[in-house]
Point group: C2
Chain length 351, copies 2
């Protein structure tokens, strides 16, 4: 409402009176305010104006893919904290760019909630401005958007932990399977994790090889395709860092089908510590997703109650979990022909 | 409200007037109605009474474990349909028996929603009666509770498909890993799937062996423990049907750790076709969870719009997906000593 007031050059009280059809506002002003409010898609709801301070006792959670482990677990963490405080949780599933566009265009959550939690998803500047117009608390979970209070892991650091482990056990030829979404949009975590991988290699004096970095669709199938690509190189890597555990597990499937023993012929590491990572004996970098959700919920509780959170921006630590999918490369570092290279050469010579 | 009216022996209009403090109701009647309404935990909300026909345009989804694949996927299916119709989705995470008790005791969703979707969870008769008092549409997804409109698979049939496949490829000594929740409460799907397994064996003339049926906590770890138990039998099974894919994958972990080759030494089959089933080459019975969610959402849309759904009770078909975890037992059916039995005997003779 303050936005409408600012644009119309009147007080918010005047805007409120005008939009609710109360007396004391000239016809001209009323019309001007209605026009601006309309431009801003600002619709006064009887419910919202009835409840002081916007205390709808509801929080909207905007999530890009409910059925994926990361988002579902984050949602569980958020819900637990908000439910405990007797707040209701509305979910908005906003899957692709057009869903996002429609969501931010119509902002269906406006007038219905005290706060919005965005679970890490790409938000454009115009979308962010529309969100600000809602005038509700916004918190970001599992990532960072503008300056909104947020909770996240340090994605770059997590990637350094993963790639650093491969370097520490002796690998020099290290592949990267990074991802993009189904609309080829690159997400912040993808940029940061790639950066962490590159940084770890640079610090170890290992030159970056663009052919060792492949970009695939997120998920098991993407991971499998990524490993296909890396294995088809004349000189494949001896180890691979995958964007996340689900991508890493897809890569493991390719290795199993190719009968390439893990970790003897190929080491592989992911990020997440997905519930299935242990099952698949996958070395990974653990992140506590439910904890991030709970912290996001707590940030909302503090902010809607007028309390100042102890920290507006929380980074949850990650740590390496070594399992059976990583080991030293089969031959010593000084050798110029690691087994994967030999295999590739053998395969090449058959042509 | 009709419940209050019935108990008080007055019309619903009178109840409505009495509870909202409107004139035309005697003090005595007013007091009696208030007392009954209080007993029934029926609280009139200004919002609910303002909106004709309870059109809050919100639907509550009550879910026992948000972060599990089955529930998250069901939720995704429900949300997609309701969002399309511009209805908001409130989620209530109700994990254990005490959560359920508290939820049904307080019914936080009352006065806030037009409909409630219960994703398969145990509901007692008193809880069901409280739910009925809410006077909103109730739909059950992924199971059956009382006579509420519902969508589900035929759990017994799915289990027959799974166990029947093991019988068809030649197994006679077939284990069952069934589950109970962390409070040892048995869910309907567990009873039905166990029944389907027993039925498949009986039809094939295979006597039921109680020692081959183990009950574990649901999940990967439970599945691993279940296989531990079956492998410690003097005469272990040659094949195992697990309650669900996550349980089956836990059992696979035990087999891998014990270096027992699948399917050569042990066949295993689950139910779900979980996204990770293909990765783990697990034979399973496919169920379409997102479709069940979408159908539950459609049932709600029809019912809150006053339309009669084409079917009030929908059963979504399941089908067998054969992968690499099942095969004929290593020796012919006529032999009295399958390899697992031999191994067990060998192990026994070492004592």
């Amino acid at each position: 409402m303050s936005d409408v007031a600012r644009r119309a050059g009147v007080s918010t009280a005047t805007v409120s009176r005008a939009l609710r059809g109360m007396p004391g506002v000239s016809a001209e002003t009323r019309e001007r305010i209605a026009k601006i409010a309309d431009e801003l898609a600002y619709v006064v709801s009887p419910e919202a104006s009835r409840l002081a301070g916007g205390a709808t006792r509801r929080v909207a959670v905007v999530v890009p893919a409910i059925s994926r482990w990361f988002y579902a677990t984050m949602l569980a963490g958020i819900e637990a904290v908000l439910r405990e405080a007797d707040l209701d949780v509305l979910i908005y599933h906003v899957e692709g760019a057009s869903d996002r566009e429609r969501f931010f265009d119509r902002l269906p959550a406006r007038r219905k909630v005290d706060a919005v939690i965005l679970i890490a998803l790409p938000v454009t500047d115009p979308q962010r401005r529309r969100l600000d117009l809602m005038g509700v608390t916004v918190v970001v979970a599992g990532g960072k958007i503008a300056d909104y209070p947020n909770v996240q892991i340090d994605d770059e650091q997590a990637a350094r932990q993963a790639a650093g482990h491969l370097i520490a056990v002796g690998h020099r030829r290290i592949g990267l399977i990074t991802t993009s979404d189904s609309e080829d949009q690159v997400w912040t975590s993808e940029v940061l994790r790639k950066g962490g991988y590159e940084d770890a290699l640079r610090r170890a004096g290992i030159p970056l090889s663009p052919e060792l970095m492949v970009t695939v669709r997120w998920g098991l199938d993407g991971g499998a395709r990524g490993m296909d690509q890396l294995l088809s190189l004349p000189n494949p890597p001896t180890a691979v860092f995958a964007h996340s555990d689900e991508v890493a597990m897809g890569a493991l499937r390719t290795l199993r089908r190719a009968s390439l023993a893990v970790p003897d012929r190929m080491s592989i590491v992911g990020i997440d510590d997905h519930p299935m990572a242990d099952l698949n004996d996958l070395t990974t970098v653990h992140q506590s997703v439910e904890v991030q959700g709970a912290i996001a919920g707590q940030l909302v509780l503090d902010l809607v109650s007028g309390r100042t959170p102890r920290r507006m921006h929380v980074t949850v630590p990650t740590y390496l979990v070594v399992r059976g999918s990583t080991a030293a490369p089969a031959v010593s570092l000084t050798s110029q022909a690691p087994p994967a290279a030999e295999a590739a050469q053998a395969a090449g010579s058959k042509k």
